[in-house]
Point group: C2
Chain length 245, copies 2
């Protein structure tokens, strides 16, 4: 443990604890295919929501809400929205990739134990918008942090989560009676799974590859070449058994 | 471990591992005040960036870049941008809260070991924007997930992170030579700290309070009252020693 942390010694993470945090990140998957119909315990769901609720938020605004959707008929309607949206998205995909796009399973709306729509109330701190004068989208970003907390906590609980973004937001708002000043951020499929894939589905199916991290790092400005020492440290990570997926 | 996870038994999280993931979330802080001047090891920074790089991204787009900023003169200029932005934001704050706003320390740009600007390249998958036809902002959200991974990994490493959102984005783009098609998402102050506060600064100073989680949960639609059983599970979490901060 670094000396700097001795003030709050009891909060320090030992190596197994650090490893657990990284493992949740490296093995988290966007789940579409392996959901089980089993119900999810309320106690588990409560912990996932508590994790989400402890995300950072601009001006301590906590702009999020969580709509828990279980009803089969409503979920069928959400899936119809997905199917319609996919048909509209298809022509935007390169011609030579459209066949692959069609084959990809991109949602588990009906098969998962439940769905959650995470929303952002744009007006929750409208009288004192600390940190949002220049960047009004910060509340949306805070809500995304809540989604990521939820997702990582789910991984640690052995629960699969898939984020469905192929959906027309106004249609979703209408279906879930979401008011004008509230923005849906993420539509999540959540539940127990038969497995979590070792790699992202889109990598397995050849849609894309993990980019080399060291090429994504700049120094001082956007055109500044990355730092040699930092790149060496990254290269050592990779040879040192960094996760494949 | 739930039965559903037996297929990938070796990936299961035992109780201490799960606890570590939750602890990172519950004790993560937006650090502004307690930075140490000590340098941050490249090996540690490399791990934090690898964590960020394993965030989920729409269409496996990985739209992020990381600009590492160490130069004192450049950071002084970024701080000048913050000071100017704060002056412009102040009038938007409720009159009776302006004195408190002025007293809050809202950045550690110069005192931290280094700064990182996390950006989103809007054009990285422009030929096949899977998942972005209806929701083009999804690449911004993916980049936010990378920020949250970075932040949680930093917590597990005993490294403080503060997100500065009081800054004019065009001025920041200009200062860091960020091209038009790239959006700065987060300007982070990163470094070793003397302590991590037990609660969010804005809570300690009376700017805001943690909202009751159960009031943020709806059932089926945005106007649907939350589920009784789920609310009970949340209430039990709270009496069961949920984190204060």
């Amino acid at each position: 443990m670094p000396e700097a942390m001795t003030v709050h010694d009891e909060d320090g993470f030992d190596q197994p604890a650090r490893d657990a945090v990284y493992r949740a990140m490296f093995t988290r998957r966007d789940v579409r295919s392996h959901f089980l119909p089993a119900a999810l315990d309320d106690a588990v769901l409560a912990r996932l929501l508590l994790a989400a609720h402890h995300a950072p938020s601009v001006g301590f605004m906590q702009p999020w809400n969580f709509i828990v959707i279980r009803d089969a008929e409503r979920r069928e309607k959400v899936r119809d929205l997905f199917l319609a949206a996919r048909d509209l998205e298809l022509p935007a995909i390169e011609a030579e990739r459209q066949a692959l796009y069609r084959q990809l399973k991109l949602e588990g709306i009906r098969e998962s134990a439940l769905n959650i729509c995470v929303t952002c109330n744009r007006e929750r701190s409208k009288h004192s918008p600390l940190g949002r004068w220049h960047n009004p989208e910060m509340d949306l970003y805070s809500t995304v942090c809540a989604v990521q907390n939820f997702w990582l906590a789910a991984r640690a609980e052995g629960v699969g989560v898939g984020w469905v973004s192929i959906i027309e937001p106004q249609a979703l708002k209408s279906l879930l009676s979401i008011p004008e000043h509230v923005t849906p951020i993420a539509y999540l499929c959540v539940g127990r799974v038969t497995e979590l894939a070792p790699r992202p589905d889109l990598e397995t199916h050849g849609w894309g590859q993990r980019l080399p991290l060291s090429e994504l790092i700049m120094s001082e400005t956007f055109s500044g070449p990355g730092e040699t020492l930092l790149k060496s440290a990254i290269a050592e990570l990779k040879t040192g058994g960094a996760p494949p997926g």
